[in-house]
Structure formats: C-alpha cells, structure tokens
C-alpha cells in the first residue's frame, strides 16, 4: 500500500487512548471507581461512551463489507443493531439501573436469590464476551495487514496488549472518557471521507451503482484471492480459485460472479421475494430477532447502565445512545454501495471487510487527500477495535474477579483482566478464517436466547423462579451455543440445517422464553419471598426515594 499516513494515525489513536487512560488512572481510587466509575458520569458522556463502546469492528468494517457483498437484505444488520437499543430502552434500562446490580450475575442474585444461577450467568457472560472479543482482535489483525502490510498477528497483539494494559491500570473511569472520545472519532472517520466519496462520485458523472450487467472493473486490476471460491466468468467459464491465486482484469471487464455473494445486479439491489427462497426470509427474521433482542443481553452494554445516577437518567441516556448510534449507521451503507463501483475486486478476493479502509484510496486516488482520508478511516477502525475490546474486557474481567476469583480488590481485578484478555488473544491468533460480522451475529443470537428472556421476565413477571430461569438459560442459550459451535467448527451444511444453525435466533429465543415460563410455573413453590419488595425497587419512580 505504501500510505505513509496510516501508521502515524494508528499510533496517534493508540497513544491518545493510553493517555486518557492514564489521566483517568489518577482519578481511579477505589474498587467502585474501577468497576462502575463511581456512578458519577453525566448522561451525555455516558451516552457517547456507550455508543463508542458499542460500535465495534462489525459496525465499522463489517456492515459495509456485508452490504458490498449481499446488498439490501443485510441492511437489517445496522437497523437491528440500532433497534436493539430501543428494546433495551423499552424493557430493561430504568428497572435494571434501579435494581442496583453491578453485573448480570449480580442481577440474577438480586432478583432470584440463587447462587447457582449466578454461576450459570457468569459462564454465559464469559462465553459471550470472548465470542465477541475474538472477531475484534481479528479485525485489528486484518486491518493492519491490509493498510500497512504487517503480518496478521501484529495488529491482533497490538490491540490486545493496549486494551489489557489500559483496562488493568485505569479501570472503567478511564474507559468512560476513552470511549466517549472514540465515538466521536469513529463518527468523524466515516463521515468526513463519506462526504469526499460522494463528491467524487458526482465528479465521475454518477456511475450506476447497480448496472444491469453487474459491476465492472473501472481500471486494470490484479486480484490476489484470499478466500476459496467458485467464479463464473463473463464468458460462462467456471473456475475454482484458492487463496494466493492471481487474476488479471482489464479496465471495463465485468466482475465474475462469485459463489456465495450477490453479484448479479437484481440479487443485490432487490430484497428476497417469496417465490425464490423461504430460507432467505427465515434468515432475515432470525437476524431481526437476534439483533433486536440480543443487544440487551450483551455484557459490555449492560455494565454501562450502572454508571447512571438513577433510573430516569438511564432511560434518557439510552435514548441519546439510540440517536448517536442511528446517526452512525447511516454511513456504512454509503461505503458498501460505493464499494460496488470503486472496489469490485474485493468481491473476487473475498476481503469485503476491508472495503471501508480501501475505498478512500481507490476512489480518490493516490494524492494527499486520498491518503489522508484513508489514514483517518484506519484510525477510526482502530478506535472501534480498542473501544469495544475495552468494554468487553472490563465486563468479563469484572465478572471473573468477583465471581471466579472471589476477590473484590483492585489487584484481583487486574489479575482477572490479564486472564480475560489472554484467552481470546490466543484464540484470535489461531483462527483467522472466521467472518467478523458472522461471529458477532452469533454472539447476539446467544445473548438474545439467554440473557434477554432472563432480564425481560425477571423485570416484568413476578412468577419467575430460579429454577425456571436456569432451565431457560441452559436450554435456549445452550441451543444457540451449539449452533455457534456447529457453524464455526463443524462440517459445512446445506439447506435448512445450515439456515437453522447459521441464524438460530428465530427458534432459540422462543424456546428460551417458553422453557423459562413453563419451568417457573411448574416450580411455583420456589418463588422468592421478597419478590414484592424487588418489584417495588425495580419500578417505583426515583423521585419517591422509597
């Protein structure tokens, strides 16, 4: 690539992250400072921090890549990622804050008074956290490899070390400021280049986004294949390609049809229709369910709500987050769409996740403007890896230090951080073939089928028992985890089994709710005695101060 601005930009983001982290270190004194920022963070800061934490590699890179690859049907990813905050606002935000719990396992114990359920919740928090951390580190490795030509492990290790050090030394107080800063950086890093890209598109006489004969190469291009695929060339030849193969295309050549992507213009431009594939529609609804309901079950999202001063503030914070996240998600679509015109080679090489970082250079040319904007986008991508990994690591480490190590001390939290960061780093270094957005989608599905029913029923239904909650989490979450493992590690499937395991939420979420309600009704005698007091605490307005 040879863009001299990229490495300094990434170094600057990393240094600012560390700098704010150390500035925060001077403020962090007690364990409460470390875990929940002493609950003294203003709603605006908190909302920007939640937004900064939430917009991960999947949002920053993955969504645009998916849109480039699959078209209109994956617009449900950004819509669902944003709508998840609406579900959180409607059903969880204020009561959860009033419950006074620090973490999800805390909530289990507070509401149902069961140590065993607490342990079970701990296992799920750690599993979801690690499942979500691996693709962040991978995204870092791939991005650095793409823009700076470094070997894959360098980027992954860099992010892992920076984040672990920052969390271990500064805790959450520092993280709040770091993440609020990173939200605005990420928004700027996508918005400013998007304006230039739109102007460039105008200047190029508005080339058609989806020409009837499919996308074509604008310039002579040599593509190095990264992922195994089957190509159907324009003359009808079918060719198998493997990683490392080089293909040459002249300017104006049509992009070959790539197996597994929506290359044809109509596939990409138009939604699934009833006749052609019911599985497509099932997958869409499953995705909607997972993202709408999964957000509230993500451990790093929930831990942020304890930093609000009261329930009403938690609600207002969530609304601001919804607005911030909604504004951000207008942008990746622009990259995915313009990528069809300026970087069609990514469809052939299989590296669609790189479209956001490569598009500014490809569209604006090799001049200083193109290079500066490419560096800005790379910096934004690193902000995305750093902030989401920090949030995940904080919540996983918090749970490990209190529930596994059983120590509430700052030293215990630091030890837990090293453990919580080490495991996903090792995993990320050993698997590089996973698709960033797919794994993140699976993490949402697991969260939606375990913690979502637990939270919703726990907050709104007096009849929930510890046995019912445990059964629902085990059956629903277990089914979702099995699907994840089959999808990621198992043999390739086809037809309905593939659809049911790749997008499990549509059957695992109703399953979890049903089991939880049925077992609770059957074990009615185990209702906690203080359920009335708990309900009062969760729902009574803050102004009453009961």
């Amino acid at each position: 690539m040879g863009n001299g601005y990229v490495v300094p930009a990434i170094v600057a983001v990393t240094l600012v992250t560390l700098g704010i982290g150390f500035y925060g270190l001077r403020l962090a004194r007690t364990t409460s400072d470390f875990l929940v920022a002493s609950r003294a963070v203003s709603p605006t800061w908190n909302a920007a921090a939640i937004g900064g934490e939430y917009l991960s590699a999947a949002s920053f890179l993955g969504v645009a890549g998916l849109i480039l690859k699959y078209g209109v049907d994956v617009l449900w990813y950004p819509v669902g990622f944003a709508a998840g905050y609406l579900a959180l606002l409607l059903f969880v935000a204020a009561p959860l804050r009033r419950s006074g719990a620090f973490t999800l396992p805390d909530f289990c114990e507070l509401r149902l008074g069961s140590r065993r359920l607490r342990k079970l919740a701990t296992v799920f928090v750690i599993f979801i956290g690690w499942l979500y951390l691996v693709p962040q580190l991978q995204g870092a490795g791939l991005t650095l490899a793409t823009v700076a030509g470094s070997p894959y492990p360098v980027g992954a290790l860099l992010v892992a070390v920076v984040v672990t050090a920052n969390v271990a030394l500064g805790g959450m107080r520092a993280i709040t400021f770091v993440q609020a800063f990173q939200y605005w950086l990420k928004l700027t890093a996508l918005a400013v280049p998007a304006i230039f890209l739109a102007l460039q598109w105008q200047a190029d006489a508005r080339p058609a986004v989806a020409p009837p004969d499919g996308p074509a190469f604008r310039t002579a291009t040599t593509v190095v294949v990264e992922h195994r695929a089957t190509l159907t060339l324009a003359d009808g030849d079918v060719r198998e390609v493997r990683p490392g193969d080089r293909l040459d295309f002249a300017a104006g050549d049509p992009v070959p049809a790539v197996s597994g992507t929506a290359t044809a213009a109509t596939d990409w431009l138009l939604p699934d229709t009833a006749g052609d594939d019911d599985r497509g529609l099932f997958g869409t609804y499953s995705l909607i369910l997972a993202t709408f309901l999964g957000t509230m079950g993500l451990p790093h999202v929930l831990v942020r709500f304890y930093t609000n001063p009261d329930g009403a503030a938690a609600r207002r914070t969530t609304l601001v987050v919804l607005a911030l996240v909604g504004v951000f998600y207008l942008l990746p679509t622009i990259y995915g769409v313009l990528g069809r015109i300026y970087t069609p080679q990514l469809l052939v090489s299989g590296q669609t996740d790189a479209v956001v970082v490569l598009l500014p250079g490809a569209a604006l040319g090799d001049g200083p403007a193109g290079r500066l904007l490419a560096a800005l986008v790379a910096a934004g991508a690193f902000a995305a890896f750093l902030s989401t990994s920090s949030g995940l690591l904080t919540s996983v480490a918090g749970v490990i230090s209190t529930d596994v190590l059983g120590r509430g001390s700052v030293r215990g939290f630091r030890l837990a951080t090293v453990i919580a960061g080490g495991v996903p780093t090792i995993l990320a270094l050993n698997v590089s073939g996973l698709d960033v957005s797919q794994v993140v989608g699976l993490a949402f599905a697991v969260a939606a089928s375990s913690f979502c029913p637990l939270l919703v029923l726990g907050i709104w239904w007096r009849g929930l028992t510890d046995l019912g909650a445990a059964a629902g989490v085990l059956v629903g979450g277990g089914a979702a985890i099995t699907s994840v493992l089959v999808t990621v590690l198992g043999p390739p499937l086809a037809g309905w089994p593939a659809t049911l395991t790749a997008q499990p939420a549509a059957w695992t979420v109703p399953l979890a709710f049903t089991v939880m309600v049925a077992v609770s009704v059957a074990s009615r005698r185990r209702l906690p005695a203080d359920v009335g007091a708990t309900m009062l605490r969760l729902h009574a307005p803050d102004s009453l101060r009961l």
Binding site: V72, L75, W76, P78, V79, A82, A83, Y85, L86, A87, L89, L90, F91, A94, L269, L270, P271, D272, T273, A274, L281, T284, Y285, I288, A312, R315, R316, T318, L319, L322, A323, G326, V327, Y329, L330, T333, W460, G532, A533, M535, L536, H539, A540, P541, S543, L544, R545, L546
Partner: protein, 151 residues
C-alpha cells in the same frame, strides 16, 4: 424512612393515638407546647407517609399500587414494540409478497434501500422519545397517587 422516629413513639402514645387512621403510626410531632397545631399540620403528610409505608411494607394495597404501575409501564412498552414490529417487521414480508414494491424508486433510490438505510433510524428514535415521555408520565401519575392519595 417511612417511620423514622419509631423508638420515641411509645412515650407519646397519648398524643398520636388521636390520629384518625389505622395502620403504622404517623410521624411524631416535635416536642413543643403547641403540639396540637403541629399535629394538625402533620396530618396531611401522614396520609402520604401511610401510602409510602403501604408500599414498603408490602400490604395488599401497596402490592396493588405497584402492580398497577408495572402493568401500565409494560402495556406501554408492549404497545410501542408492537408498533415497531408491524412497521419494521412487516417490511421483509411485504417485499417478499409484493416484489414490485422493491423496484419502486424514490429520488432514484429503490424504496427498500431508502426505508431500511435511512428512514428506519429516525423512526426508532421517535418511538424511543415517545416512550421516555409516556413512561415518565406514568411515573408522575404514580407519584401523585402516592403523595396525594385522596385524589
């Protein structure tokens, strides 16, 4: 918080037993010569305090009050999610059964792209804003009920 001065209460049994309401003892007036006047002032507050202690002490009235609030908030949340479910969740189905809709273009952009890529987000924000307003109104109603039970 509800009955903070319980320990001193027995000493003043004579003066507080005049309170017309049963249940937990109302707060004790300050020890002063004009006890009756102060007591008369306290009486209005004591009803609010009684409702508070109905809540905190889990009497049947308290439970009913809380379940009323919980039901109001849950109904509100369910109504708004039903709205989102129909408005957004209906789209994939609508596009599937009416493919012509997907081909319709507005300002040169296909309708599904415009609806999902742009308009979905302001819609979600407006629903969220409406929820915050209405939920806070529910809570205000509940607070009024507790603090002025006679209304």
């Amino acid at each position: 918080m509800a009955v903070p001065d319980e320990p001193v209460a027995p000493a003043r049994d004579g003066s507080t037993s005049a309170a017309p309401v049963p249940g937990p003892r109302p707060p004790v007036p300050p020890p002063a010569g004009r006890a009756r006047i102060v007591l008369a002032e306290v009486r209005r507050d004591s009803r609010a305090d009684r409702t508070r202690s109905e809540l905190t002490q889990q009497t049947r009235i308290g439970e009913t009050l809380v379940s009323g609030l919980v039901r109001a908030q849950l109904t509100l949340a369910l109504r708004l999610s039903l709205l989102v479910l129909i408005a957004l969740g209906g789209l994939p189905w609508l596009f599937a059964i009416a493919p012509a809709l997907g081909r319709t273009t507005v300002f040169g952009v296909n309708l599904p792209w415009l609806l999902l890529g742009v308009f979905a987000f302001p819609f979600l924000i407006v629903v969220g804003w409406a929820y915050v307003r209405l939920a806070e109104r529910n809570e205000q109603d509940f607070t009024d009920l507790v603090q002025r039970p006679e209304r």
